[in-house]
Each structure stands twice: as C-alpha cells, then as structure tokens.
Point group: C5
Chain length 355, copies 5
C-alpha cells in the first residue's frame, strides 16, 4: 500500500495536458448514473441508463443531484463535462483516482475531491476510493470510483423529507455528503482503535515477531488516514472561509462543525500514533529484557561451576606427593567445600540483587 501510493501515472507522460486517461486500478465497468431531484415539496429519483437523458435535466427547478458510479468510462465523463461546461483539467482529475483531497474554485462551480476509506480488520490495512464532487448553483455531481452506497443515509433523508435538508440549497447537500464521509472516518478510527487495543493485549501476553508486523501495518494505516484527513481539513476550512457565492453563509456554521470533527480525527490519530510508538518501545524492551534475562541466568550458572570445576581439576592432578589425596575424609571434605563455595556464590549474587 505504501509504495502503491504511486499509481502508473507515467502512462500519461508525453500526452498533452487535459487528455482523459483513467489512472487507477483497472475497474472498467460501465458507469451507473442515478439522478435525484428535489425541492421543499417533492423529491424524485430515477436511474439514468443513458447519459443524454440525465443531461437534459439541468435546467429544472429545485436541486439536482447526479451520482455517477464508475469513472473508468472516458466517454461518459466527457459528455457530462461538455453538458455542464466543466474544465478539461477537472475531468482529468476526476478520472485520475490518485488525487490528494482538494478544493478548486472554477468561479461557476466548486470542485471537491475526497477519499472514502474502509478498514480491513484482517489485514490491518486501509482501502481508499476517491469521491469527486462538483457543486454548481443548483446542481451537485458526485463521482465514485466504484459504488456509491456510502451516501445512502443522505438519500434516505432526502426521500423522507425529514430535517432541514430539502429546504436548503445544493451547498447544504454537499455539506451533508462531506459530513457522511467524515462520519465514516470515525468508523475507521474505531476499527483501528480496536485493533490497537487487541494488539496491546497480545503484546502483554506474549510479544512475538508477528506483533511487530501488525504494529507496522497499523502504523502505516494511521499515517495513510492522516494523509487523507489532513488536506480535507484545509478543504473544509477554505469552503468556510473563502466567500464563494455558491456557499450560503447559513451553511458556514455546519462546515465549522465538520471542521471540528476533522480536528478531532487528527487528535485521535495523533493519540493512536503515540500509543503505537509506546507499544513499539514496550515490544523492544520486552525482547531485550528476555534476552538479558537469559544471558544473566546462564552466566550465573556458568560462574558457579567455574570454581567448582577448578577444584575438581586440582585433585585430578597426578603429583606423587599430594597429602590430601591420601586422607580418608579428603573426598567428602572437598565435596563440602564445593557445596560451601556454591552456597556462598548464590548468597553473594542474591545480596547484589542479580537474580
């Protein structure tokens, strides 16, 4: 995943700027287009099998939300671009699923790029998909790399007619969509947090080499999440601060709220990183403690036997005149002496708190 951050963009080297080539993993499915049109009174949704039909809708009253699932089909993107008068570079960015979260102001519309993230609790890795949004005066177009299920809560809310959402404009819809994506990050954070806690428990029970790998995977996921959230913060901040006529001032307070959520996510990510760093310290010190303990016990055993081995070697010498060897009680005396040496050393080590 790490070096995988770099998708094969070199395929574009040499092409003129604005060429529509899909950069990303190959998912050459045909785009699915869903249109949802609403105003305070009513809300209708239909699937537009044909791009043309969908495009005829632009000038209707109320807010129109066009959701496009699948971005690898260049022709669809191009047609929508022509119909809504989108800049070629913007279309290029939509098809290139390898963008940082960003916002761009094209005067007549705002262009927002986000990342949808899913946490795989088995592999401890994150999977990201790009979501692009175009906010016009009375329309919103969203582009998903694959499926758009993440926006279902907003869709349901729109259909049910509850809350403020149908009374407010396209800018509030974009806010709601961003809010759903950010709420989703909290789910990812909880998955990460639980994995970290589980790992912490395993670490205390039995620190093995597999834990090191899991810690590195989690650290990588944490860094990746931060890379997705950090620029998003700037995106939301600039939506709130820049006085774009497309965003009404009543929406600012909601944007400030999402902004607070991203700050909160960043804080939690920092806390996770601290925890992981601490766990690594604990892991390393437990490994080195175990090694030190082994060396210590073994060395102590060796040291107790070294003087004893010297003594038995001493009475293994073949001198003719060694009076001790002739003594009846020589052998038991030596055994006692060795026992005494042994006891003395154990006491000495104990008193020095060596074990």
């Amino acid at each position: 995943m790490r070096t995988g951050l770099l998708k094969k963009r070199s395929a574009k080297a040499g092409l003129p700027p604005g060429s529509l080539v899909h950069i990303g993993e190959a998912k050459p499915v045909r785009s699915k287009i869903t249109v949802l049109r609403y105003n305070e009174e009513e809300c209708e949704e239909f699937e537009a099998g044909d791009v043309e039909r969908c495009l005829a809708l632009k000038d209707l009253p109320g807010v129109t939300w066009i959701e496009i699932e699948g971005i690898s089909h260049a022709e669809t993107i191009e047609k929508i671009g022509q119909r809504f008068d989108l800049h070629p570079l913007l279309l290029e960015d939509i098809m290139n699923s390898d963008q940082r979260p960003k916002i761009e102001d094209y005067d007549e519309y705002l262009f927002v790029v986000l990342k949808k993230i899913r946490f795989d609790e088995k592999g401890l890795t994150l999977y990201a998909e790009q979501i692009s949004m175009v906010l016009g005066p009375r329309f919103v177009i969203t582009f998903h790399e694959s499926e758009g299920g993440i926006f279902d809560p907003v869709r349901l809310l729109l259909k049910s007619g509850k809350g403020r959402i149908r009374k407010l404009g396209a800018d509030y819809l974009v806010y709601s969509l961003i809010d759903v994506v950010v709420d989703n990050y909290f789910v990812v954070l909880e998955g990460l947090g639980e994995s970290i806690e589980g790992l912490e428990a395993r670490l205390i029970a039995n620190p093995g080499a597999s834990i090191l790998k899991a810690m590195q995977a989690l650290k990588g996921s944490t860094i990746y999440l931060r890379k997705a959230v950090w620029p998003l913060r700037e995106v939301i901040n600039s939506m709130e601060r820049d006085q774009s006529p497309l965003i009404q001032s009543s929406t600012h307070v909601y944007l400030r709220d999402v902004y607070d959520h991203t700050v909160h996510i960043m804080d939690t990510i920092e806390a996770f990183r601290d925890t992981l760093a601490e766990m690594l310290d604990i892991y390393l010190s437990s490994i080195s403690n175990r090694m030190n303990e082994i060396m210590k016990v073994l060395t102590i055993i060796a040291t107790i036997f070294i003087p004893l081995t010297f003594i038995v070697g001493l009475y293994g010498m073949n001198f003719e005149y060694m009076p001790e060897l002739k003594l009846r009680w020589g052998y038991p005396a030596v055994l006692l002496i060795m026992l005494a040496v042994c006891i003395f050393m154990v006491f000495y080590f104990k008193r020095k708190k060596w074990f």
Copy 2:
C-alpha cells in the same frame, strides 16, 4: 485512557446533523438545574426542579446563571435550547462530551467548551469531564457532565457579595468560572508534580519494572493535560482579542491574567515532560549499568579461573615422563604459581580500572 479518547461517535454515523444523541460514558441521571440570579444589591438562588420554571426567568433584571448538572437527558437540553434560541449544532456539542476545548461565536451568544480534570494519585491517571458554557447578554448557562461542585467558590463569592463580581456583568462571571477551572489545573499539576518527585525518589532507590509503568502512566497524563490546556489557551486568547460585544473591555485585563496562567501551566507541563524524559534515561541507563556490572564481574571471575583450570588440567595428564610430578615440592609449587597468576590478574584488572 489513551485510546479511550475516542468515544463511540460512530453511533451517530448516518444520522442527520443536529440530532441530539448523548455521546460519552453512560450517566443517564436526570439533570439537576440550579438558578442563581444577582445584581449589585441582591442575590437569590433556587433549585429549579422543573425546566419550565427555570426558563421563565430569562427576562428578569440582573444577571442570571443557570447551572445544569447532567447532560444525558436530551429533553431538558432541547427545551433550554428552544427557550434561549440556541443553535442545534451547539446543543449537539453540549451532549457530546467528547469535544476539544473551543469557543464559538454565534453573534447573540458565545459558546465555550472546557475540560474539568481530576488526578487520581493511585492510578496516576486523569479523569476529565466536559463543562460547556453559553454566555448571553445577561445570562450564563453552564452544563456539567455530572456534578458542578467545582464552581462552589464562585457561588459563595456571589452570595457573600464581596469583591467586584456582583457589580460586573455576565462576562465577568464567565471569566470567574474559567478562572476557577484553570486554578483547578494547578491542583492537578501539583498532584502530578508530587507523583513525579515520589517516583524519582523510588527510581534512585531501586529501579524496577513497576517504575517504568508508572512513568508511562504519568507521561500519558501529562500529554492528556496538555491536550486540554493547549486549546483552552486559544479559547481565552480569542475571547480577549476578538471584539465580541458580549465581553466588555474592562474584562480583557482579567482574561489576559488567566491567559498568563495557562501559559504558565504549559511551561510546567513542558518541565514535567523533560523530567520524565530524563527519568526514563536514568532508568534505562541504570538497568543497562546493572546488566553490564553483572556481566563484568562474572566475566572477570571466569577469566581468572580459566588459566588456573588449564594448569590443573596440565598436571592431570597421564604422560609417563613428567618429571614435575615426581618432585616432592611439585604440588605446593603449582599452588603457589596459581596464587601468583591469580594475584597478577587481579592487579592487572585493577590497574586497567576494570573493577
């Protein structure tokens, strides 16, 4: 506590923004409402069992302070929100006890979030509760997660009528409340400081594994405290700097004073972190020193005996023609030689300052 920074916010994923759901540990107690109304001449306090009764008070002359203990009861919060015309997102923030300290300016009122912190000297951990405040033109509403005893000194001061507090407006009351919270941080700091000093003494006496855990707990507490104070600093700074009409210029000098206190707290926290980092260094170096010492002494013992063991092995050989073995004084001579070798090596090691 670390990963516990993340409360189950995912419970809200999918709900429309502004939904009132209590996020935090479950404390579903009924809210207790205390109202305190005062002006320069008089001060009356009563407990408002019923929300309605409390709400009828808004338009009285003087300053009204409504203190609400317990935030898990959505209905109470909602009623107060309606009566005082508070923004739904603000109410959401009050019920979500998982906020960073922050200030938000809603033109007609200011919204301030703080953390009340208690230090548990046994577990060396911190416990935080959220305090939210709404400052209106002539009223202050404070929300506590559980009990509000921390504000008793201000309450007593108001009742006694001493000092300036009754002569000044609601903004001075808010300042006084913040001041009490910040003063409380000094108590936490002292608890932390004493625990650190106690640990330092234990560390010098006998560095064991339990000390490492205590150091990490204290480090975690220090980081947590910093996370509470750092944004508070910004809150107070923006109260002083932003020209909100709700805060009179005469209060600015007091806010600057609390600001100085928060700077002071940050300095002390930094000093604590330095001390803890130094203690970790001392701990690690004392562990490694002890291990080195063990290895050194044991290796020296081994080394002294290795040549001796060689010598006794030499005269344990079974050659027929070994003239030394026949000598009457062979055995004592070898004993003397070994003693000499032993003495020489001890001197050699001493001169090399190896022990």
Copy 3:
C-alpha cells in the same frame, strides 16, 4: 553525488560579478541551436548552425521557440544575451549549471531554472541536468546542458497542430515544457519505487551488507529528488500567483494543475522516505535478531555442558578413598545422571521459552 553538489565555484572567486565562466562538469561541445516558429495556422522548424541567423528571427509574427543544446560555449550565450537584451547575471546563471530551481522576474522577461533528472537503476543514483528558460512576450529560449530530447513530445504536438497549444501564447508553451519535465519526474519516481520494492523483497529474503549500501543510495536519491522538486513547487506557485503580464490568466489553471503534480510528487517522496526508514529498522532488527539468536543457542549449549564437565571432572579426582569409583555400576550411573541433568536443563529452557 552528495558532496558533488558543490561544483568548483571557487574558480570564480575574485572575478567581477557577471563574468561568463561555465561552472559544471566539462562538456565543451559546441552549442546546437534549433528554432521552431509557429502560430495557429503554420509551424516551421529549422536548425540554426549560425547564431546570427537565428537571432534575426525575433520580430517575426507568431511564437518563436529557440532551443540551445550545450551551454559551455560562452560566445554563443553572450551573443544571444545581447540580441535579446538579457541581463548579465541571467547569462551567468545559465552557464552555471549549479543552480537551484528558481524563477526571476526581469520585467520584460521571466527566467526559469529547472532540473531534468534521470534515474540510473543500476547505480541507484540520480543524474541531473539543468534546463534554463527565458519567457519573453512572444518568444521562449530554452538552454540544455547537453541534449534536449526531453522536449520532443511538445515539439511533435506543435508540428501536428493537435490540441490547444498552437492557439495559445508563449506562456502556454513554457507551461507545456515544465509539464513535460514534471511528468518525467513521475518516471523517475516509478524507477525509484521499483528499486525500493525490489530491495524490500531482497531484504526479507536475506539481509546482507550490500542492502545497507543500496538503501543509503536510494535514500540519497530520494533526498536529491526532493531538493529538485521542493523549490520547483515554489517556482510554479509564484508563476501562478504573481501577476506577471507575460502569463495570461487562462494559463493559471494549467499551472495550478502542474502545481498539484509537484505536491503529489512531494507526497510520494515522503512515502518513499518512510518506507526506507522502515526498511532500515527491519534491517537493523534482523541483524540484531540473528546475532541474538546465535548468542542464545551457543550460550545454551555451553550451559548444558558446564555441569556435565564438572561431573566428569569430579570423578577424575585422584583421592584414594572415593567409594563410587569402586562400584561396578558407578560408570553407567554417572552416565545416566548426566543424561538426566541434560534432559532437565533442556526442559527448563523450553518451559522458560528460551528456545
């Protein structure tokens, strides 16, 4: 390459500013000059063997692009400088191939310095060449240290007449050239990425000393690339932001796009650096693990034999009265005892999880 960042600039110490001395590795080839002149309708290209002929072209209608390959020939540079009225310090910078990427605004023209980079997958090092560009109202002059093949895609595009490029001005040409250079960085990034992945595979298979060298070479390359891209970012940013009349506002959106690419490159470089840092950690820990494993196994072997050697030494003593020695079953009994000691220790070590 590292210290090689410093070319022999001291050769110039003492000369008055503006002296034209080529600083860089000696490539005293004669400059090759190619002129390409185009407008919306037509495009002609010819090689100008003589500087004079090329210089006569300035005042023609349309955009003129003069490409100069080889910068060591002072006379050519000087003549062009005189003809286009370029500042002496600018000419000095062109000949001194030891510049950071930068942009300088001389009112009548912009001066841009970039680095063309090639990655040598064998040596894992980067080779850089300097490209200087002068953007005037209706002309562009590019200077290459050696060959200019990198710009061939732009040349082909101009000749083919496809896309917008022939309809737009000299500023768009400069943008296209910069875009080509930046696209080329992606090729370098992919080469680096593949080398890093290959190294990662080798690292897991068998961590040897050669891997450390390769890691350091790749780290050096990564740092070098960052040094080339970081200031380039600023260059593009200031082209977009500064309101130079030489750059039309319609080109700004394209510059913002290249700017995004440089940000992306910086992100990828950071990811590479993280990966390399992690690989170094893995390398170091695998080296130290292997050493620890060796020490552990050997120490355990030694420890098992130490008590056994003591026992055999014990019965090698020459006391006259050692009743065990006379026993018929003494020898097998001792062998059994030693086997028991051996088994006990292996079990003890196993239970302590020492191997």
Copy 4:
C-alpha cells in the same frame, strides 16, 4: 529545581482574582524602600522607612525611582498600589514571584517582569529572583524579591552624573536597568561556560558516573536560563515595536541593542546545549567502549585457553592404549604444541585487528 518551577499556587485556588497573597519561598522580611530623585542638574537619594513619606514624592519635578526590596509584605504593596493607581492584578503579579518575564501595557504605565539569575558553580544550579518594574510618565518603581544590589552600577552612574542617563527620561532609566540585568546574564553564561569546559576536561580524563549527574545539572540550568531569556526577548522587542507614548523614539535604538544582546545569549545557550549533547555522546560512547574493551580482552584470553584446556584434558584420559603417553618426549612435545597453538591464535587475532 525542575519540578520546583511550580510553586504552591494552589493555595490561591478558590480565592477571588486580585487577592494579594505572596506566592514564592517564604521571606517575610519587611520591605526596604529607597527613593532616588534626579534631573539634569541634581540627584538626591534617601531611604524611606515609612511608605507614606515615599508616596508623597510623586508629583515632584524630575524622574523618581522607587526601589522596593522585599515583596512579601502585602500592606506595603497595597499602599503603593493605591497611591500610584496600579491595577489589582498587577499587584498580584508583583507578589507572585512565579511569573514568566512579560510586559503589560496598562495605558498609563507599563509593567515589566524580569528574572535576576545567579549561577552556583558548586551545585551547578541557577537561582532566580523576580524583578518587577512599573514605568510611569515620570517615575519608575522596581520590586525585588530580596536585595536590589544588582542595580548599584546604575545608581552610581546616576549619582556621578556621567553619561546621558540624567538628561534622559524614565524610559531610559528602565532601559538601563534591563541592560544591567541582561549584562548579568553574560556573567551567568561565563560561569556556565567555565563549568562546561571544566567538565569536558574531566570527561576526557576519567568518565565516571558523577559526570553524568553534573551534565544533567548543567543541562537543566541551560534550559532554565533559556526559559528566562526567551520571553525577555519578546518583552524587549515589544517595547521597541509597540508605539507606547511612555517610551521615546530616541530610546528605541538602545532597546534594539539590548535585544541584540538577548539574541546573542540565546545563540550561546544553543551552543552550550550542543556542547552538552556532544559531551553526553562522548560519555556514553566511552562507557560502552570500555565495556567492549573489557569483554574483548577477556574473551580473547578465554579463547586462547579453551583449545589448550582441551589438549591437556585429552592426555588426562585413562585409556590403556594411548601410545603418546609412553613416549619419553611426549610431555615436552605437547607443551610445544600448546605454545604453537597459543602463538598462532595471538597472530591470527592480531592480523584480524582484534587487539
């Protein structure tokens, strides 16, 4: 000293703001008040045993400098506060000797807090005392925690009438006092520098555990000094930059000069910290070198004797048919072989540069 940074401020928790309680180490001595009044022509000094008498002086022509030694007597501070119309929070700050250096602008007067520092060369620690100054239009009041001897040079200069000081206003007097305090920091720096150099010499001669403690004490002192100087820099900078009418523009150039001195002090402190960090590296590497050297020599000795011990053990075997044992020259031959093995191993180790 480290955790001692936190004085018992909690004693104030719960008191209303502005309560005058002395925070600091208990020095309940009665304040000593010295008044010095001067203008261009004359200068008179007297000790004002009574606060009242001193206070009657305010409206005299010329500049009045009131120096108060001892700040623990609340009544004195309060009276002066009333007489000069000082803000209650300012008086609180004066009595609380636990402030960071700071400047506060109360429109009618400036309030400056500084630290006087003394270096104890024995204990390698710093002792700080707080100096507070109030600069009014034609008066200066200085408050010392204990004695005010540090200002004697300014006092002498005023009495002697030399230099510009008597011709200029109260702002120049404050500048002169700050200048004296900053000059004093250079004395502290020199003491620190000499201690560091002395320690460096001892470190090279014989690195022992006491040196580690001394290094940590010096590091702590360096950090403490930085904490005193860093905010002072800001104080002086804001005196120069902010256009307070109390500071004449002719004094700005002098303030800039003191500012340069503080920058210089910060630079030197950084250099000290670098030196101390380097010394720690040298200390750690010399400790580990010595340990490595011990292990190496001892292991080499052990290794030389291991094969020899094997050989002597070989000929200690009791096989009946060992032809070598019967040989007349067997014993000397084995001795020679062992000598050869010994020499070979020493040569081998030498060639491998192991010792």
Copy 5:
C-alpha cells in the same frame, strides 16, 4: 571554538551603554587606514597614517572608501565616529568583534556586520573575523579585526577601471564587498567538502577513534558556518527588500544574486551535515559490526571445544569398571568421534549462516 563563541563580554557589565571597550581576542595593534576615492574618470588611493587627514576627505566628489584595519584602538574609532556622525552604539558594535551578522538602518547610513571565515584544514576548525561596514550616501567605511586582504580583488577592479563598478555608486561598492565575502565562503565550503571526502575514504579503509574526533570537529565547523551564513541571508534579503534610499533599485538585482548564493551555501551546508550524519552511522555500525564479529567467532570456537572437552573429561574419570578404557581401539575411536562432532558443528553453523 564552541564555548569560545562567548567572548569576555562580562568585562563590560556595569559600564554605561555606549562605552567603547574592545571585546575580542587581544590584538592591540594600531589601526591602519587606507583611503580609496574614485569616480567614473579617475581613482586614487593613499594610506592615511593620520586619522585627521583621512577625515578631511568626506566632502570630495565621487565615492570615498575608507578601510580601517585593526579595531582595538578606541581613539581612532571614536574620531571617525565623531567626524561621520555615527551613533555611539554603532561604534560599540564595531569594537565588539562578537556580533552576529546583522544590518541596522540609521536613516543617514546603513550599518552592516559580516564574518570573514578561514578554514584550517589541519585542525579542521574555522577561524572567523568580523567585518563591519558603514554605507553613507557617497562613502563606505569598512572595519577589519586584523588585515583587509580579502577585499584586494575589488581594489584591483576599481584601480583597473574595468566593468561597471566605477560608474556606479557606493551601494554597488558595498554589494561588491559582500559578494567577495560570500565568494570566500565557497572556498571554505570546498575545503570542508574535501576534508569530508578525505575522511570518508579513511572511514571505509579503517574506522578508528581519531575519525570520530575529526567528524565532530567537521560537524562543529559546519554548524559554525551555518551560524555565520544564516543571518547574513537575512541581511542581504532586507537590503534588497527594504526601500532604503541609500540603495538604488538597479543594485537590487545584484543583491538578489548574492542572496541566491547564500541560499546555495545553506543547501550545501545541509548536504554536508547529512553526509556527516551518515558517516557517523557508518562509523558506529562498523564499530559494532567488528565487535559482533569478534564475539561471534570467539563464541563459535568456544562452543566447538565445549563438547570435546566434556568427552575428554569423561574418559579422564577414574572408575574401575569403564570397559571402553580397556579397548585397544578406544583412544582412536574417541579421537574420531570428536572429529565427527567438530565437523558436525561446523556444518551446522554454516547451514545456519552463522559464519
């Protein structure tokens, strides 16, 4: 050199500001004064043995450059100060050779302080001298701590009349002098670079303790150089940016060029620091590798002999009933068994890749 950054400034503590005392190493030589006066047509130079004579020159037409070598003679400095109306603090700064590079704008003249640096390739240390410059409307005064030979190229250029220098004003002269100083830093950089490369070669050949010292000396020199160049960058930047009437706008482009050079120097210094950090890593890992290798080989030797020693001890036992001892082929069989054990262990170690 490190702690030597602090010269005995405490000698001034207590003196009134503006007292002229030379701070720096004692070089009490009499100042040598050289005057060079030029305009577009002519250029005359003479040595002014007497200060008075030199001072009479100020009001002549053309540009006057007064060079003063030796700053320890207070009287000379004072006279020049009076004649040119220089501020006392400026004179103090000139005599105090312990300044950071800085620029100060005294409205009627600019004051610039720089450092001239020489690299001692033997000691691997830097020697710095201070150069102060005063730029007036039509005069430049330069002050050197000792000799002024560094400016000879400018002097020659002025006398020769080549280039632009005689046509331009005093500001261009100051630029030329700064340019010479910065060009000189490149010479220092090359010396440093060559020393680092030489050290790198020695490091690979044979890493010894002397290399560590050399690396630390070079690191210290690098840090010192950075301390001289970093503020100089700001000096030049503020000369270019601030709209002082003393500097004509035509000189700005030249200042920007020198500014680029200082940026380049900073980059190279950073590269040197990276290289030195890498070399330290290589040094440390080669030391630890060698130690590990020694330990490994020795431990392997020990481990091979431990079982063999056990076997020979086994047959050294004195049991009466050990049937093997009676066997004719017992001895050779044991020798063969030991050989087999030996070969098995060597193969085992080889297969485990332990050596």
